[in-house]
Symmetry: D2
Subunit: 150 residues, 4 copies
């Protein structure tokens, strides 16, 4: 069962709040399905920034960026105009040049969508894999990683 | 030069062509990852329309619509500004109230992304599952389904 | 000269802060020009909400909504990835069924874009003009209107 | 049935056809107002390409690009899901480093929106104004400009 922050943060998950505006919805009256990926990226960006490892510095200092290699989204219930949503982000595993994350989009205690992503760390210059620098590895591991034994 | 995969139509796949504009790209210089879902939906919409089963009529005649329940995207190579892309759509399986599709985004003969989706047929009135009407079932099965023997 | 809140609110303008994410940018490395309209609408929505007059209630209680009838945007300097922006909103004039607003997008003290909009109050049922209800008129006038004497 | 305004091409206007998909609409059931700017940019891109002056070559050969400096949109009637639209593009005036365009979005013979834009030709390197190269000047003047005598 998904729980709210602060319980969420105690479990090493990062929480990001957002509001649904007209731009996010479609003529079906709900949030357009592709836009959950936008919400999730905002949350990842802020999770890294708050952990002291903004992606802009990974680019400027190391010439590296994260790219989405794979994403799987389960849509459980629709979000609607004016909804106040929460995106919880947790890392599932961290490898040399990639990371697996789970992100959940919640309205109150109800889970609307669950995303599982694989992000690759790649070199800006040529798109080839690059090792995740220590500061970003640490941000991913300590700042919002799931369980101690993971 | 876009090469239409010769086997594509023979295998019952629908092809939809599109161009990449500034609106589709991001500051990384490539197509923003969420936008592949927009491309795929344009292709599905046209596939149904060309098979004589537009979604607007499914709504007006039957009070039903397709909703994305699950999507999995593998990003293999980035699309860029001005690219001319092709989206191939094929159905994998059809059940009473849902359908599984595979959609591939190609540039020339190179596959840039592969999407696998589960769409549910739901009632506009309450979002509950509804049986796919015969005309849409036929469009999904005959118009662009991969035949049983592959 | 445009000044920061709290000076901003003292002048009757509403301030809304936002961050630029990848989704907002294009391959030119800057915020895609159409997206300033999205930023501006987020700001208007929150301005009304904070003034106690959310658009959702205008719809549910009165069957009315605001529609953009005209917009003019001057782009002065580009916003970029990760920029922290402020949208200032002030009303210029209020009529029975429409309102004129000016919205400015700032980065620090620099003005990046200025929007002037005419919004019409229309009936959801048929799109015909409708009188702006008192609570919304008051929100527009007191909450964030520039005072009569400038 | 889309009727191509007969006088359109005779008057040197470029016509671009598009369909409205779910991604273009919002919970109000109509095309989201910012998306007319996306439609207009697709049309400008194709107008230049068809006139033999693609923007990609202006960047690669001359290090120049067009940027939107000002846009004014009048929204006359809403476009809806599945609408088949036409964007007409005509140039109003061409100066050394900028051009004024008018673009109209039509459904059948009805005009839904009119955009007037000022585009500046700027250097990719530093964003400073640059002279529009002859091929692009010619494309703007001959390919789709309204002739001097109207």
């Amino acid at each position: 069962m998904i729980v709210h922050p602060p319980a969420a943060s105690a479990q090493g998950r990062h929480a990001y709040a957002l509001r649904v505006y007209y731009e996010d919805t479609d003529a079906g009256g709900v949030v357009y399905h592709a836009n959950y990926l936008r919400f999730a990226e905002r949350a990842r960006t802020e999770a890294l920034r708050e952990a002291g490892a903004p992606h802009a510095e990974m680019a400027s200092l190391h010439g590296l960026m994260f790219m989405v290699r794979r994403v799987k989204v389960d849509y459980l219930a629709p979000a609607r105009l004016d909804d106040s949503l929460l995106v919880l982000t947790e890392s599932l595993s961290i490898r040399a040049a990639s990371v697996e994350l789970r992100q959940s989009v919640l309205r109150g205690e109800g889970v609307l969508a669950v995303l599982e992503l694989q992000l690759a760390c790649v070199r800006l210059a040529d798109g080839r894999p690059g090792r995740i620098p220590p500061r970003w590895r640490q941000a991913l591991a300590l700042g919002w990683q799931a369980p101690a034994l993971g």
